[in-house]
């Protein structure tokens, strides 16, 4: 288990991470969620000791950070680049050597990973000859080649087409099955919803929601509806007993402020819009995310005034 307690990091003017605690368990997938600039990347960098925390403790299976621990962590950074002129296989073997894997072993593992990710024909190519998506696959191989117990991925799905997202998803599930702890950050909520066992929602450098995703969903306590319609979405704001979480041109997600009045709500909606669909359901992670972040900001904004 990776356990971080009260991490803090201050840059010259801003506090990027302010007392973040999180736990990532073996055989589970932890999603680190949050809006842009929430402090996700800084948190991840501290977990990997790329930057030292100003304050706080991180333990890896109860052990403090050490040389032995380094080799048990794999990392895929958010902004991705590789040595453009270098050969694919050489590059993978080099990074594996920095994680303590001897070259012959690294080479055979690299080849099987390249095959698994369907890019084995690029083994001898220069990195710059590869497409962006394929470069990302190489980076993923670099993150997992040394068979780490903790796999930390910063926005792993960005830049991948749906086909490759599926491929990566399968591999992550497999890692989880094998008892690895997978930590990844994202701001794409439906991905997190499909993949994560646990989430840690960060906003403004603080954890605002954390724990088992199913339990969080159940504990959110309010129901939502997805509606589809034609008409002016602006009228939604005037309808009593609901709050609009998100609205688009022809659809919206609304939260019931009084779930007992569903029939009234539907009637109101049908009167003002050409209602095509009304689906009552549990809160999506997206709703939870938006509500939590807005609620927190609203409170802070109110407190500030």
């Amino acid at each position: 288990m990776l356990l971080a307690t009260d991490l803090r990091k201050q840059y010259t003017a801003v506090v990027a991470v302010d007392g973040v605690s999180l736990r990532a368990e073996r055989g589970r997938m932890l999603g680190l969620l949050g809006p842009n600039g929430a402090g996700k990347t800084t948190t991840i960098r501290m977990l990997l000791r790329i930057i030292p925390p100003d304050d706080g403790i991180i333990t890896y299976d109860g052990l403090p950070y050490s040389e032995a621990v380094i080799n048990r962590i794999g990392y895929l950074p958010e902004e991705r680049g590789l040595y453009r002129k270098s050969r694919v296989l050489n590059t993978i073997v080099y990074f594996a050597s920095l994680r303590g894997v001897p070259a012959p072993e690294a080479k055979s593992r690299a080849i099987s990973w390249l095959e698994r990710l369907e890019i084995s024909h690029y083994a001898g190519s220069r990195m710059e000859e590869l497409s962006k998506g394929n470069q990302q696959k190489i980076q993923f191989i670099i993150a997992v080649l040394h068979d780490p117990d903790y796999v930390v991925l910063d926005e792993p799905f960005s830049g991948l087409d749906p086909l490759n997202q599926g491929l990566l998803n399968g591999i992550l599930q497999d890692l989880k099955q094998r008892g690895k702890s997978v930590i990844f950050s994202t701001h794409v909520m439906h991905q997190a919803e499909q993949l994560c066992d646990d989430i840690c929602l960060i906003d403004g450098g603080k954890v605002v929601l954390e724990g088992d995703l199913n339990r969080i969903r159940a504990g959110f306590g309010r129901e939502t509806a997805k509606i589809e319609f034609t008409g002016d979405p602006g009228v939604l704001d005037a309808i009593p007993n609901i709050r609009v979480v998100e609205k688009f041109a022809n659809s919206a997600e609304v939260l019931f402020t009084d779930a007992g009045r569903t029939a009234e709500i539907v009637a109101d909606l049908a009167r003002r819009l050409d209602l095509r669909m009304f689906e009552r359901r549990g809160p999506s992670l997206n709703t939870i995310f938006l509500e939590t972040v807005r609620g927190r900001r609203g409170r802070e904004g109110g407190a500030g005034k």
Partner: protein, 418 residues
């Protein structure tokens, strides 16, 4: 931990040795040396392999045989044959000189001989000489043969006045100034000034090329990793100072490769051309200065380059600090002429200039021991201090990209790290 430093070093070495910048610099220096020194040297000292055919029309009839003897005496091909074969086309006043000239000219034009001499004596003892050839551009030949002809004429005239031929040979012996370099321990070796001059320039060029190549590769690789964020993967694997150490080690090994390649090249050249281009005495000591100099400049390049974000900026910074290498280069002549001068001593003790100054001084005159020790101490201490500073700056600024770190921010970060 050391194995990871070595992994970084090996990566830098094996990747950069294939880079264009390295290969160009590897070839450029020998090319410059060949261009500047060797080509003229070959023209001056290079010898023929086949005899050259020359002729003489000697109206006076007195000088041809002596001239021929002297030529055969002075110029011999490596295989023992005479370098110049002098054909006597006409001797004495009996023949029609005009016709002889027409005949000889046609022989030259047909390529049967390269050229021929005409000797006339218009008045008494006076000799009028002429050389006719199809190739007046061959200055070397005329330069070589004129003194011999003069010697032949003089010898004949002296003999006529009844002077003993042996005495003539003795009197005619020309004076040649040889230069010896005196070194401690009673040793002295024959060294020409231009030879010292040449080796000084070679050492300076080598140092300059090695430091500039490796320094630029160092800064470039640092900035590449910074801008494409590879540095994050590196930093998650090993501490910043180890990354820096590995890079400096790897690129230092690249410098040694450069040095060895040039050393082999220079040895081959000196064997081939007979020019002793590398006096081995002091080369070892100079290598120590080279290594310290490389480390010192690397630390400067890292300190100055790490906070930057583009290659153009880095180019400017490296060229600014390379002035430390250029200043001694500009002052090399006065220093070579007076290696013990106050100017030379002061410059030697400034760490930025030490390696270059030693590249000038060691080949021309071994500096006194106390100066060597003092300069090594100062340079060594500077390397230590600069390396520590470079490590801190590297750690502090390596994660920042897209913006240049201001001096104040840098100072704040450094203070925080202490």
């Amino acid at each position: 931990m050391t194995s990871k430093i070595l992994a970084v070093a090996w990566w830098e070495y094996s990747e950069k040795i294939k880079s264009k910048a390295f290969i160009v610099s590897l070839i450029l220096l020998p090319a410059v040396i060949v261009g500047l020194v060797l080509v003229p040297a070959i023209f001056v000292t290079g010898s023929d392999t086949e005899p050259r055919e020359l002729g003489i029309v000697d109206e006076t009839g007195a000088y041809a045989s002596t001239f021929s003897e002297l030529l055969g005496d002075r110029f011999i091909l490596p295989d023992g044959r005479p370098n110049y074969r002098l054909h006597v086309i006409a001797r004495g006043g009996s023949a029609d000189i005009f016709q002889m000239v027409v005949l000889a000219d046609s022989m030259v034009l047909r390529g049967e001989m390269e050229g021929y001499f005409i000797l006339r004596s218009p008045l008494g003892d006076l000799v009028d000489a002429e050389y006719r050839t199809h190739n007046v551009g061959n200055i070397r030949l005329q330069e070589k043969l004129t003194p011999v002809l003069r010697e032949a004429v003089t010898a004949v005239k002296l003999r006529r006045r009844g002077i003993d031929p042996e005495m003539i040979a003795e009197l005619g012996h020309s004076l040649k100034l040889r230069t010896f370099k005196v070194s401690p321990g009673g040793r002295s070796e024959e060294t020409a000034f231009d030879q010292t001059f040449f080796s000084v320039y070679m050492y300076m060029m080598m140092l300059f090329f090695i430091i500039m190549t490796s320094g630029q590769l160092l800064v470039r690789s640092m900035l590449e990793e910074k801008s494409n964020r590879i540095v994050e993967i590196l930093l998650s694997s090993l501490p910043a100072r180890d990354i820096m150490g590995g890079k400096i080690l790897g690129l230092g090994a690249l410098g040694v490769t450069q040095l060895l390649t040039w050393g082999i090249f220079a040895t081959a050249v000196s064997r081939y051309s007979g020019l002793s281009v590398i006096p081995l005495g002091g080369a070892l000591l100079l290598t120590v200065y080279f290594i310290l100099g490389y480390l010192f400049y690397s630390a400067i390049f890292v300190s100055a380059g790490a906070p930057l974000s583009t290659e153009q900026e880095a180019q400017q910074v490296t060229s600014l600090f390379s002035m430390g290498l250029v200043v001694p280069l500009a002052l090399s002549f006065p220093v070579m002429q007076d290696p013990g001068s106050a100017l030379a001593i002061v410059l030697t003790l400034i760490p930025l200039f030490t390696p270059m100054m030693m590249a000038i001084r060691i080949p021309s005159q071994m500096p006194p021991l106390n100066e060597i020790i003092l300069s090594l101490c100062i340079l060594g201490a500077s390397v230590f201090v600069m390396m520590r500073l470079a490590g801190r700056i590297f750690s502090a600024s390596v994660l920042l990209s897209g913006k240049r770190l201001s001096f104040r921010e840098l100072r704040a970060m450094l203070a925080k790290m202490q």
